[in-house]
Symmetry: C2
Subunit: 178 residues, 2 copies
């Protein structure tokens, strides 16, 4: 029989308030959403960005923006902690982040994509992670300007993961550095 | 400017058919869902299990089962590739998997939980990953009998991740071994 263990209460987890989020140490990671269709996916990604202390979230094109009942339903308040910006076009956001010194990485399966299991995030480097539309993925014109594509290897019968699951996998992987 | 790259077409990804899934190499990982409320989460986890070649998925208690329009909407057919079983109670499933030689691991934040970044899956060992209800998590009686709890470290203001995102993060981490 395994050792007895006890689940922690929320109050024992010692989290900061939504207001305190901005004072946490920077992770060096920002996320760019390129035309995500579902506001529930946007909300779920807000929640994941909060968990892994993403510094900023960019909502581009057709992405829903807070305040939104759908975003709130899956973000559970993380839309109030994670700093975000809306931009009608994705390309200028990528160009701006490149100019700010971010390595721009789109999550896509491409001819030259780097497999996530072989990707070791560099210490001190800042990354902008780009996630695309549920059906069409990241736009080709965005793939063209990103520094590289990162592919989550898959081993089964399907061709892709849900975008909010893909966000979780990649953001977790980026937290493993250092 | 970055090197030009091109997104792969589905046909270039060389995936097996749903029927061929069972003939793929075993990953040594099975997943147990302990009373997941949302059929959309069950479906999303089916899709993620397919991606990482989970060998079997156990749907316990109030979990919805295929055929289900809600499951299909987020599984996108993965409910036809990943072998699954339904059980009204979770505890006998855990006991059976322990008897079959699986290390039973619940994804929870507990007093003695192992942080995912410090967890190195052992080569050759088989794991049963238990994920719990959206509100209540894994039942305490299941935590009590599992070999250990695995915690996804969080750095922001919220207390947990969406269960299908948590599944993705842990299943990806298990694929990193070897």
């Amino acid at each position: 029989m395994a050792r007895k263990d006890r689940k922690l209460l929320g109050i024992e987890m010692d989290r900061v308030s939504a207001e305190g989020y901005k004072d946490l140490p920077a992770s060096g990671v920002v996320v760019v959403l390129d035309n995500i269709r579902s506001a529930y996916n946007v909300g779920s990604i807000f929640r994941t960005c909060d968990a892994f202390k993403v510094d900023r979230l960019f909502l581009c094109g057709i992405c829903a923006q807070p305040p939104s009942a759908e975003i709130h339903k899956t973000a559970l308040g993380a839309e109030c902690s994670v700093p975000w910006e809306y931009a009608p076009e994705t390309l200028p956001v990528i160009e701006r982040l490149r100019a700010e010194g971010y390595e721009t990485v789109c999550v896509e399966q491409t001819v030259h994509s780097v497999k996530l299991d072989t990707f070791v995030p560099a210490e001190g480097k800042r990354y902008a992670v780009v996630l695309g539309n549920e059906v069409d993925g990241v736009q080709q014109e965005i793939v063209d300007v990103c520094d590289f594509s990162l592919e989550i290897p898959q081993f089964g019968s399907k061709h892709s993961l849900n975008v909010s699951v893909a966000a979780g996998v990649v953001l977790w992987h980026l937290r493993l550095r250092g």
